[in-house]
């Protein structure tokens, strides 16, 4: 990263067909050019600083044992255990979210591009996805509480002793997480489909395939990498989200099961994720264990970095990657 900063003083090659020296530039222009470089490299420097700082803190406080021990209630940071439960919680929420959202997002993208009749309905669906994309996560979370507290959806969540429906569980939180990931997956799939040249569809139709057969045999294979990019983006949004976890899983750091059936009790139970663990252990939460918060935040950042690298990798592997726009457009 430091080579970046050193380079800022050096004149860039001006993008002009004929070579021109920086010395002929007016002072105002030179200043402007310098501020262009400063802004671009400054943002990179902030990003690098955050990663470096979290890296240093992570190496300082993270012990391998923390990854495999459950959180303990303790007043001292040495005795409060690790964050196995939050890691399981993060993975579980991601799985539920992706399983719920994938058919929803990919299905509506396929319908939108390949059928999209009647037109007005297509436009309504498109605007609805835009609305979901624009809705803050805290609003999605509080909507989740409202809907999972109804009698109808009571079986999916924790029930309080008095019979009141709390509306909190992994299923409930995962269902809301699917909304967080929906726009990214939908947009990636739709853009992939729109980029498939028309002659591929026409060739399939000419061979007598129906639309759905074309979708399954021709279009699905060719947009697979776009869907993968979308899913990876969606996952990185899910694991980074705090508001939904705080509201819909509660403040308990342990995984608490609900009921007797083996898998269902976990899904209906509550717990925590890495984000809520970081939050609860920071001075803003109840536990004042900043070292644990740093360590967990470092693990979280490693996950996010890994997903970012994965997106780049998929983008490069996919034949139809458009470079800049695939990843950046859907932040």
């Amino acid at each position: 990263m430091s080579s970046f900063l050193d380079a800022s003083g050096v004149a860039p090659p001006p993008c002009r067909p004929r070579r021109s020296s920086l010395r002929t530039w007016r002072w105002g222009d030179r200043l402007l050019l310098a501020s262009l470089w400063a802004a671009g490299l400054g943002l990179c420097a902030i990003s690098a600083a955050i990663v470096l700082y979290m890296g240093i803190r992570g190496i300082q406080y993270l012990r391998p044992a923390m990854l495999v021990t459950a959180p303990q209630a303790s007043t001292s940071q040495a005795g409060s255990g690790g964050f196995l439960d939050p890691i399981i919680g993060t993975v579980l929420l991601t799985l539920i979210g992706v399983i719920v959202v994938l058919p929803l997002a990919a299905g509506s993208a396929f319908w939108m591009v390949e059928y999209g009749r009647p037109r007005w309905l297509g436009r309504v669906v498109e605007s609805c996805i835009e609305i979901v994309a624009g809705t803050p996560d805290i609003v999605i979370a509080i909507f989740g509480l409202a809907i999972f507290q109804t009698r109808l959806l009571a079986p999916f969540s924790v029930t309080a002793e008095g019979g009141g429906v709390v509306g909190r569980s992994f299923i409930a939180a995962g269902a809301m997480m699917s909304l967080i990931a929906l726009p990214a997956i939908y947009t990636a799939t739709r853009d992939g489909l729109l980029a498939v040249p028309a002659h591929m569809r026409e060739a399939a139709f000419a061979l007598g395939k129906t639309r759905i057969a074309t979708i399954r045999r021709v279009l699905l294979p060719s947009v697979r990498s776009n869907i993968a990019t979308g899913v990876t983006l969606g996952i990185s949004r899910i694991i980074g989200d705090t508001a939904v976890v705080l509201l819909m899983l509660g403040a308990a750091l342990h995984i608490e099961t609900q009921g007797g059936t083996p898998v269902l009790n976990l899904l209906r139970g509550t717990g925590s994720t890495l984000t809520s663990y970081v939050y609860e252990n920071s001075p803003a939460g109840e536990g004042g264990a900043p070292q644990k918060a740093y360590a967990a935040a470092f693990v979280l950042l490693v996950f996010v970095l890994g997903l970012n690298l994965l997106i780049d990798f998929i983008g490069r592997a996919g034949a139809r990657s458009t470079g800049l726009s695939v990843g950046v457009a859907v932040v």
């Binding site: 970046f4 001006p14 993008c15 002009r16 222009d29 501020s35 262009l36 802004a39 671009g40 400054g42 943002l43 902030i46 690098a48 955050i50 700082y53 058919p103 299905g107 509506s108 059928y115 009749r117 309905l121 609805c128 835009e130 609305i131 624009g134 809705t135 803050p136 996560d137 805290i138 609003v139 509080i142 909507f143 509480l145 409202a146 809907i147 129906t210 759905i212 057969a213 979708i215 694991i239 980074g240 989200d241 705090t242 508001a243 984000t275 970081v278 939050y279 920071s282 803003a284 918060a293 740093y294 979280l300 950042l301 997903l307 970012n308 800049l324 726009s325 990843g327 950046v328 932040v331």
Partner: protein
């Protein structure tokens, strides 16, 4: 009988689908998305209704201490009277607008300069490194920004930038710890700048090369050509990016709650420079703070009213972002 039924169902799914059934199935999936959005709007408005019923729109106004009003709602019982809904939430609205506004004002120039740098002036090798690096900035979870804010920036501001005499002077008005507008706005700016960079670079890259090259051929300096042709052409996209970033900034909850101090104080510019260190609370932060008390009907309805307001403004902002970008379509510069 049962088995044959399940076998029949399985057979129907496994065999190649007729086209009309596929269309209906995929259409139903799309309708589900529409239904979810409608359910969101209806649920939130229904739960917010009592506040609107008892307070009208005057709950957006000023008057009294909103922290105390929300705190009082805890204890109003399961069947509160109309007076229990008393709420004047202006400090929260003001705090939300102030943080988002300052963040966009800081972030937009940086984003514009950085986008021009990335698209037009960065050497290829720098560009290849800069794009993923800036993208990473957008994908860092907000709780990590909050953690850095609360453990690094807030103590720094509290210990080094606010003098003891200022703390003493303001003691009777509000306690200054370092948590407040400044840290929140800066972190928010860092969070939304990459979004603006993404939108502006996309638009800038879509400007036809020949426009700028034509300007250079006419003797314009490359920098001037960029400013007077490319940037001019994408002005709507720049405004749209600012609008969408504002929508994002308005919705940030956890990070702001962590670093802005949890006092619904309205920072006053008349206090001088110390104004930037005064604490505040946003609508989203108020939801995070009060979601545990949703059993009290009055508090629940107030919290959902905040959510309704946020939902409505996010909706209005994305519509205006779309409208602002319309002129670009006419000139076939996609953005």
């Amino acid at each position: 009988m049962n088995r044959s039924l399940s076998a029949r169902v399985f057979d129907r799914i496994r065999k190649p689908w007729p086209d009309h059934r596929a269309e209906r199935t995929l259409g139903a999936v799309s309708l589900l998305v529409v239904a979810i959005v409608l359910a969101t709007i209806v649920c939130i408005l229904a739960r917010a209704w009592p506040t609107f019923q008892h307070e009208g729109l005057s709950w957006l106004g000023r008057g009294g201490n909103v922290d105390r009003q929300l705190g009082d709602m805890f204890s109003t019982g399961l069947h509160p009277g109309a007076s229990a809904y008393h709420l004047r939430a202006w400090p929260l609205v003001y705090g939300t607008l102030l943080t988002a506004g300052i963040a966009v004002v800081i972030g937009l120039p940086v984003a514009l300069l950085a986008s021009i740098f990335i698209v037009e002036f960065a050497p290829t090798r720098v560009r290849k490194l800069a794009i993923p690096t800036i993208r990473l900035l957008a994908s860092v979870p907000s709780v990590i920004y909050g953690l850095i804010g609360i453990l690094v920036l807030v103590p720094f501001v509290g210990n080094h930038l606010i003098t003891t005499s200022e703390k003493v002077r303001m003691e009777n008005v509000v306690q200054l710890t370092g948590a407040g507008l400044g840290v929140a706005a800066i972190l928010l700016a860092v969070m939304i700048t990459p979004i603006m960079v993404a939108l502006i670079t996309e638009a800038l890259a879509a400007v036809p090369r020949s426009w700028r090259e034509g300007a250079i051929a006419l003797g314009l300096h490359p920098l001037r050509a960029t400013l007077s042709v490319s940037v001019r052409a994408i002005r709507p996209a720049i405004v749209a990016s600012a609008v969408l970033a504002t929508a994002r900034a308005l919705g940030e909850a956890v990070m702001i709650y962590m670093v802005a101090g949890s006092v619904a104080f309205s920072p006053k510019p008349s206090d001088g420079l110390i104004f930037v260190f005064e604490p505040l609370k946003t609508l989203a932060a108020a939801i995070v703070e009060n979601f545990e008390g949703l059993n009290a009907p009055a508090l629940r309805s107030s919290v959902y009213a905040f959510a309704a307001l946020m939902m409505f403004s996010a909706f209005a902002l994305s519509v205006s972002g779309y409208l602002v970008k319309l002129p670009l379509r006419r000139h076939e510069v996609r953005g």
